[in-house]
């Protein structure tokens, strides 16, 4: 009798791979379908909305690498979004619209900023780390505000999207959508392989017990700094894409509220699971987009929603999904 029950449940259950990967597969499948479905509705609106979702998913994903896996709460992560965006804007202002030049600058400037600020920030722990990353984020913000030649406070409108090998390939929304989709997929796969690598296990070990990891002989500072630079660079990529999607660059991309929103996305989706960050970014942006349709005072619904998620849905939306899904 008992044996029969076990075997029937085995045959009924989907293969282990599908069950384990159901959420990320579903997320990417939905994002893949959007441009095909969008053709029948308000195409440009839906495309730009989901491009924004994917761009912030990349940013949240990069934050999850240090926040979820390293327990390094960076409160200045939006600065990298700004570095990536301003690389596009500043080069465009000087007539350089070539993506193969803009993108390396976006990544390089983000990486250098991450290297310098990370090296200083990682000397501190816990709450002080939160605050010092906030300080660097604010410095980047005020730097952008003071760039009078590049729009200062108001920001600047880009002449057009980046050109690829001199061709206006990205002017088409669907082409840009495809590029962002590929970027998100690439970042996701890269992050997955990072966190399961030996390097990623050292980072996770440092999260659980830094003393023990240091005692075993790992130079944690170097490992954490490397992860911090990777995360910053990845967020710089999101900034590059964001500037192209909006056609606009401004200091508003790097306010502390934006950094806070990125943290909210990661925690909302489910900390330290990568696809949780994608889910969180999607949930955050879609609620922000659609709740105002019901009431002008949508933040009075959204605010308490966040509080309720914290109080009752441990592990964020992913944790809630897991519980609804039962044991699996």
């Amino acid at each position: 009798m008992e044996k029969a029950v076990v075997s029937s449940s085995e045959t009924a259950a989907p293969p282990a791979f599908l069950r384990r990967e159901a959420v990320p597969l579903l997320l990417f499948a939905l994002l893949l379908v959007v441009p095909f479905v969008a053709r029948f509705f308000a195409e440009s609106y839906l495309l730009s909305l989901f491009m924004r979702v994917m761009i912030f998913a990349i940013a949240a994903l990069s934050l999850d690498l240090i926040l979820g896996y390293g327990a390094l709460v960076s409160f200045g992560h939006a600065a990298f979004l700004g570095f990536g965006a301003y690389a596009v804007g500043i080069l465009a202002a000087h007539g350089i619209t070539e993506a193969t030049l803009q993108l390396p600058l976006a990544l390089l400037s983000s990486a250098v900023f991450a290297l310098v600020t990370g090296a200083l920030s990682l000397r501190t722990k816990g709450v002080y780390f939160i605050m010092i990353t906030l300080a660097f984020g604010q410095m980047a913000f005020f730097l952008a505000v003071s760039l009078a030649a590049y729009g200062g406070d108001d920001g600047m409108t880009l002449p057009g999207r980046s050109r690829l090998f001199g061709l206006p390939l990205l002017e088409d929304d669907r082409a840009l959508y495809a590029l962002i989709f590929l970027a998100l997929g690439g970042c996701y796969l890269l992050s997955r392989s990072l966190v399961i690598s030996r390097f990623g296990r050292v980072i996770r070990g440092a999260r659980e017990n830094p003393q023990r990891m240091a005692a075993i002989g790992f130079p944690l500072f170097r490992y954490q700094l490397t992860m911090y630079v990777i995360a910053g660079t990845m967020c710089g990529l999101a900034g590059f894409l964001f500037a192209n999607q909006t056609g606009f660059v401004s200091p508003a991309y790097m306010t502390w509220q934006r950094s806070g929103e990125l943290i909210v996305m990661v925690v909302l989706g489910g900390l330290g699971s990568l696809h949780g960050a994608i889910l969180g970014a999607a949930a955050f942006l879609l609620l922000e987009e659609w709740l105002p349709d019901f009431t002008e005072h949508w933040k009075m619904i959204f605010g308490p929603f966040l509080v309720l998620v914290v109080l009752f849905a441990r592990g964020g939306l992913l944790g809630a999904l897991r519980r609804i899904g039962g044991r699996g």
Partner: protein
């Protein structure tokens, strides 16, 4: 002339400093005693300002309005503590950041719903209007002096409360080791509630005091909140004395840096480059100060010994 400007700006910096201290005192205690990151502390300042505006308009008297606003701010803080915050003390910092971020969104929108999105203005009370001549060519508004004076008075009172009374002793002990205080038979839940309510009231007081000189509007606490965090981190989390010194320091550095930074830079480089660099550097000064303090003293200027 420029010396007069220096005095005026020093007084302005002092005013910002005491304002920051009033908000930071509650935040540093909540943070130090309960290990609780309360991003919503800034909206309590905003709520204080709105309450003062409402009660002043209702009663026609600023002082009566102030007292009613304080009482309501205290009650409001206690209600928030009871409904939300006490469930978060044992959670990790990230959960606290997320939940209090939600409360910011809610309250910023709620004041818009109740009082409208347009800024409110509160008249300066009759008795404190006008300016006083401090020296030749230096007139300073009486009300701003009153803000500085009341802030300093509260600082002294709070200092005595924390260092000389039994409840202050418990608070200090709680900041050092809350678990041990609880094990010694102190009702730590009640202590938390008192600290929290008191902190909310101080933030509300700060909001009410500046309501006549600033515009009362939604989101007015958001940027001040970040400055307050800078203050408590520089001062050392949990230290009221550290918060006071850091608040005055931040107030002066920020105000003087913005008004004299470009001029000082102009002495060493050409004027247009100086004004460009000055605009960039002045708002950054306090963050550079904080990063430098944390670099050399990773637990702030007056760390609470754990």
């Amino acid at each position: 002339m420029s010396l007069t400007l220096l005095y005026v700006q020093t007084l302005n910096g002092l005013q910002l400093g005491v304002l920051l201290f009033l908000i930071a005192a509650g935040l540093t205690l909540v943070f130090g005693v309960m290990d609780f990151i309360n991003l919503a502390h800034g909206v309590q300042y905003m709520v204080g300002a709105y309450l003062a505006a409402m009660f002043t308009a209702l009663t026609g008297s600023f002082f009566l309005g102030l007292i009613l606003a304080l009482a309501t701010a205290l009650a409001f803080g206690l209600v928030l503590e009871f409904l939300v915050f006490r469930h978060l003390y044992s959670r990790d910092h990230l959960d606290q950041v997320l939940a209090t971020f939600g409360i910011i969104l809610f309250l910023n929108q709620a004041v818009k719903l109740i009082w409208g999105a347009a800024p409110l203005s509160v008249p300066i009370p009759e008795a404190l209007t006008g300016s006083v001549k401090l020296m030749d060519g230096l007139l300073y508004p009486i009300y701003r002096l009153a803000i500085i004076g009341s802030g300093l008075a509260i600082a002294v009172l709070l200092g005595i409360l924390v260092s000389r009374t039994r409840i202050g002793m418990l608070v200090r002990a709680g900041a050092t080791n809350a678990a041990m205080v609880s094990a010694l038979g102190v009702d730590i839940g009640k202590l938390f509630m008192i600290v929290f309510g008191f902190g909310a009231m101080l933030a509300g007081f700060a909001g009410a005091m500046v309501a006549p000189v600033l515009s009362v509007e939604p989101g007015m606490g958001d940027n001040l909140l970040i400055l307050t965090f800078v203050v408590i981190v520089i001062g050392g989390i949990g230290s009221v004395r550290g918060a006071f010194i850091a608040a005055i320091l931040v107030g002066l550095v920020d105000t003087l840096g913005r008004s004299f930074g470009p001029a000082l830079l102009a002495a060493v480089m050409n004027p247009s480059a100086a004004s460009q660099a000055g605009r960039a550097l002045a708002p950054m000064l306090i963050y550079i100060l904080m990063a430098a303090v944390l670099f050399f003293r990773p637990a702030g200027l007056f760390p609470v010994r754990k």
